[in-house]
Symmetry: none
Subunit: 213 residues, 4 copies
DNA sequence: ACTGGCGGGACGTCCCGTTGAT
DNA sequence: ATCAACGGGACGTCCCGCCAGT
């Protein structure tokens, strides 16, 4: 009944495994991230790893959720430009994990259901993002959700490009192109608002399984 | 040692295998497309399949090259809007294959090299794409290759979104946003070609594939 | 469509695997009969073995059914004394397999169902054994099915004893004791009928899962 | 290093583990009785269990010895009929354990030796069973040890039948058949002791076990 | 040309028993 | 004395590709 190791210890182990697993899944893909490689990456043994996660699949799901939450959190709190910056400049592991996740959603029925359940459970906690998007002052001659989707396309396309190993694009140029596309008629292009814009700019993604997409 | 069946027969078998394999790889992913499933999809047996392709990886490479060439060919010959249309309206198998390919490039050293070799060999045969891009009349205050990359981001992002099962976006709206982003200053929207001129759309689906896909 | 190897070949392989597996299961028990040991015993590889049987469990079931049919067939065709003789003098592998089977029926829900399904399917093929028992001329002051059960107890007890490695009992003495127990009043003990008795003496077991019991 | 808990506490723990383990081994078999299940059954954890027994095998041996001693004690003290009654009416766990034990003797060299050592050590403590058997007044035209073996066959056969889930037989009928088989010539059935004198039956079930069994 | 029996390797899972912490 | 984290071994399963057979 008395905890044999401190709760902090368990927490740290949990985190340690998640982090190492993220590296592994990113580098080798789900199937390529064999248990042996997970052992090497974590520095722990099967017994330890599967003491914290029932399954390799559960481990992967946990990693995917983590990265997904990270991604949406950046977008919501720091804005779209910050998201592009993060995609470009931070380590690319979480992008790769996201792509893995979408692939497994596509190909593995079981995983699809697991993710759907999770999404359902945390759907309610999300604020109305469309409202927040409206406040950003985008052009109004195009449906707002289309703008949200468009921004998502660019972000995902960027992530895909980076994980493929293609060279880094000129982020300012990209941002400029995006900006002109979504800015209101008159205010367009008055001087790189993308960079100086308030940190709360964000947009909307489809409510479905957007986080993993 | 005279060939027992006509060259056309071999050609047809080759094609038949490629097509079935594409379905398989798209639906199940590379690892999930086991040889047994490939047998079922092709209606042939191991022996036959591995008679035409040295191993599973070579088969996948052939499929990936095929889909990749198809994608670039649409873009170059029918324009970006046509590419978007194709991504949206044709069966999504080749998108999934493309994603699989990038994933394997990322994770499998061996496959990465195979692709690189192939690219090198066929690089010379491609016309200068930037030249053709220039002819489209985009804005000139942003480097042309950035525009190309930007368009690629959107296309890839769209592909990724579709294969994830997210709902179809309003293509016209997306096209409008992209158009304003890349059009020259003054000439923007002078004829809404994006909307009104979906040049040579290829939206018809290849027969006999979609139903089974 | 044309069989690649002769049907006889497949038949022989099937038999070969069953026989070796029987040895293995008898000697090591179900859990102890690891796939490696089955490989050694059959002289074949995993690939070959599991080409003929989907599962280790299916293989065991096939073996158990085989031995069970053998046991009941001896009893029905050659009589109870012949059964005792067979239990004592033939190789004890099939006894051990039978015991394994009952144990797995007891402990493994899944196996229990498999056996039950099999029994159900072959129930109809069995002739009315109680009738045949009646013809044997046992004492009539005790219910006939009790006599059948009693004989079954002795046979099973003998099997259990033998597989435990205990020394062989004096079969004639045992037979004499059984004989006096079940013979009609007057004819009792007139001179070792057990040995000279007609070869079609048999008795009844509970219809349930008797074959595996 | 004074013992922190009383000797009685240790004794109770010991007993508690043995009892729970007996249930486990009976229900799941040796291999199926995983340590996790033993933990659940005992309400204790690995550490506690392996503090009292060096390993799983030793625990099983202890359980098996316990049940075995119980069985022989009933036979010797209360007679054969009482043994049959006990087999039929008491909870079947110890029968299953006995069967498990004989199986492991047969298949596991190591366990066989352990049991042999134990037998050797306690052989001397047992009174001469043949002597006691002789005192029961059986027929003398058949070797006495054959009678003993015969009775053992019936008892074991009955146990096997019961653990297999087959329906309960009519015990009186069985006893009558046995009785006639082993009784002296003239004195047979002079009082039907088998039926009328179920000496000192021990049919009450041990408390607290049956409900959970 | 085509089949499929087969070898053998590697995977995820589970399980036992040790060990260090309480 | 008791616990649970953990190491590491072995298991059944599945899968790819070779090649003997037709």
């Amino acid at each position: 009944v008395v905890p044999k190791v401190s709760k902090e210890h368990k927490q740290r182990r949990h985190e340690q495994i998640l982090e190492a697993a993220q590296r592994c899944f990113a580098r080798y893909g789900y199937e390529g991230a064999t248990v042996v490689r997970l052992e090497e990456a974590t520095g722990l043994s099967r017994g330890a790893i599967f003491n914290y996660f029932p399954d390799k699949e559960a481990l992967f799901l946990a990693v995917a959720i983590r990265t997904s939450e990270r991604m949406t959190s950046i977008w919501l709190e720091d804005g779209f430009r910050a998201l592009l910056e993060a995609i470009v400049h931070e380590d690319a592991d979480w992008l790769a994990v996201q792509l893995e996740a979408t692939r497994r959603i596509r190909t593995e029925e079981r995983f699809h259901r697991l993710v759907a359940e999770h999404e359902e459970r945390f759907e309610a906690t999300r604020p109305d993002r469309l409202e927040r998007l409206r406040a950003q002052g985008y052009r109004d001659d195009v449906p707002l959700d289309a703008i949200g989707i468009f921004l998502g396309l660019v972000a995902n396309g960027l992530a895909l490009r980076l994980t493929s190993g293609d060279p880094l694009p000129d982020l300012d140029a990209i941002a400029e192109l995006v900006e002109r596309g979504v800015a209101p008629r008159r205010t367009r292009n008055q001087g790189g608002e993308w960079k100086s814009a308030p940190r709360t700019r964000r947009t909307q993604r489809s409510p479905g399984r957007s986080s993993a997409a």
